[in-house]
Symmetry: C2
Subunit: 324 residues, 2 copies
DNA sequence: TTGTATGCGTTATCAT
DNA sequence: ATGATAACGCATACAA
């Protein structure tokens, strides 16, 4: 490995001059500097990140922690983060799983964006207490080193539930999210409120998990226990896809006919379902960008700020007016 | 930040003893050791990655470089990599974009897995020459520090093309991949060979890009220039989805009726298309696992090895026997 | 304008 | 069994 020491030797100068030259410090003579740069180039010099980090205590790297690489959910979100961070000279890396948590306290990251319900809040608070900068997208957490950028789940879930009710359904199913999911809880709360406000309704909750399998199970339960027209709100699109899958060859229910379905997230896959899935949309790209922005703000010494990402209703043929 | 120096002071021992204790070196007295561990714990000690890396010249981190976070293609692949790496104590981080390339030469990674046609081969060779360990999934590259784990594109493309021909189509379209994609070129070569072998055929190539937009354009061209029954081989599933989208409301063509379509990759989204998309399947999880395995082998000082991932044909209703 | 010297936190060699 | 010390590569305060 070629280090500044090697360059110094070759150039006949001291390592500090080399360091200055490489970092574009103006106090080093222009020709000395260009000579050094040339030599560095010739020798294929690349600075050592570990050494630089040890000295400067910053890596210019930000980590995004997500639950899993699977699912078509994260793409745009991460792209939104990356674009914003790159513009400011930071790199983004994506991490998943408990084992990778170490990167944060060990100082490999200047900050982190969290979208992983399995990442314990206590653990996050410990890191924040150590001075690490965080942005959470999936929980409420108050700390001077933690900013929140949350979806407007309440508005979205209310819009979705009202859409079903306005379409004339009095029998309404909700397929819930997994235990411990902040988004799922928020959405469910808003749904319950909307249901209360619109009594009388025959309202049933089915336990889901935000995966397709949850939708499949929900479909089975609905087919087994009921046969009239009904509205189903899957608290995310992924489960709606599972529901579609299971109902594809059903004789009792046809989506968009006697079963109206709406999801949440408006993921790309859902747009190609037949009939198209009604859903709650929001800009994932913007979500990522805002999260990055807030993280950069914290890193720059700014105050923790709580931002909200607004949503809107996408009507589609998966929801049809109930005939009475 | 609490360092081993602080622990040493508190424990009344030297830093070397602390270091030994923390690393479980048996030559340090058992009670001294446990006392040190306890103090370290109390003080919330976490080792500094930069310092450790500077000294040991390894990070226990492997990077996967991909073209973009978008698309539902990568999930299982990355999961396969991660599971294998974690088992051996390594962490996986996902990187995208030119800017993040620096992590490799700067020594933040013990090795990298490349699936990004935009990552220049010359650049990869430079890194390999510096001693960095690489596994490439998207090109042929011979170097003692580079292993290849490639899909069996030839077999897959041949299977797909033959499936269309055997189904009775004499008019065959191929929607190609982007310039510079190794997979696309390999697949196209195999298709051409199969076409030659099955003369006479009316065979037409349409330039694609591996994105949905390429499929959309292909659909338009086909509708504009032809109306008889035809077989279409999209060199990946993503483009087939675009084709489905564009043909959804077409009066001239109905997929699985007078237009038979087959893709490549058998991505999850494609399984929920109506009619289900015929495709070429392979285990993305296994691909990732094998790639990781080969990287670990290189890191451990093993020889570069070239592996191949086998594929098979998934028949589905998007391909229907042509009536003559 | 350039050089000398110190320290970042760790590992590891060599004494003791 | 434990301690003193050098070294990893770099940035920087200070001296010249």
């Amino acid at each position: 490995m070629v280090s500044i020491k090697d360059i110094a030797k070759r150039a006949g100068v001291s390592i500090s001059t080399v360091s200055y030259a490489l970092n574009g410090n103006p106090k080093v003579n222009a020709e000395t500097s260009s000579r050094i740069l040339e030599i560095a180039n010739e020798m294929n010099y690349v600075p050592n990140a570990a050494a630089r980090t040890l000295k400067k205590r910053q890596t210019m790297i930000v980590g995004a922690f997500i639950t899993s690489f699977e699912g078509s959910f994260y793409g745009e979100l991460l792209q939104g983060m990356k674009d914003m961070l790159n513009k400011q000279g930071y790199d983004l890396i994506i991490c998943s799983g408990t084992q990778s948590h170490r990167l944060l306290p060990e100082g490999m990251l200047d900050g982190a964006i969290i979208l992983d319900a399995k990442f314990d809040s206590d653990e996050l608070l410990r890191y924040a207490n150590r001075g690490h900068k965080l942005v959470v997208l999936d929980r409420e957490l108050n700390h001077k080193n933690i900013s929140q950028v949350l979806l407007d789940n309440k508005a979205g879930a209310t819009l979705a539930a009202e859409y079903l009710i306005e379409s004339g359904y009095r029998k309404i199913y909700v397929v819930t999210g997994p235990e411990g999911s902040f988004d799922a809880e928020q959405r469910l709360k808003a749904v319950r409120l909307t249901m209360e406000r619109n009594q009388p309704l025959d309202y049933i909750e089915i336990q889901g998990d935000f995966n397709q399998s949850g939708g499949v199970r929900a479909a089975r339960q609905i087919m087994a226990e009921y046969s009239g027209p009904a509205g189903v709100f899957c608290l995310n699109d992924e489960m709606a896809i599972g529901l579609y899958r299971e109902l594809k060859d059903s004789s009792s229910y046809t989506i968009g006919k006697n079963l109206s379905v709406i999801g949440f997230d408006n993921i790309e896959t859902a747009r190609y379902l037949q009939p198209q899935l009604a859903s709650i949309d929001y800009s994932k790209r913007r979500w990522g960008a805002v999260a990055s922005e807030q993280l950069l703000n914290l890193i720059a010494g700014g105050q923790a700020v709580h931002e909200r990402i607004y949503v809107n209703l996408i009507k589609a043929n998966s929801v049809r007016k109930a005939e009475d």
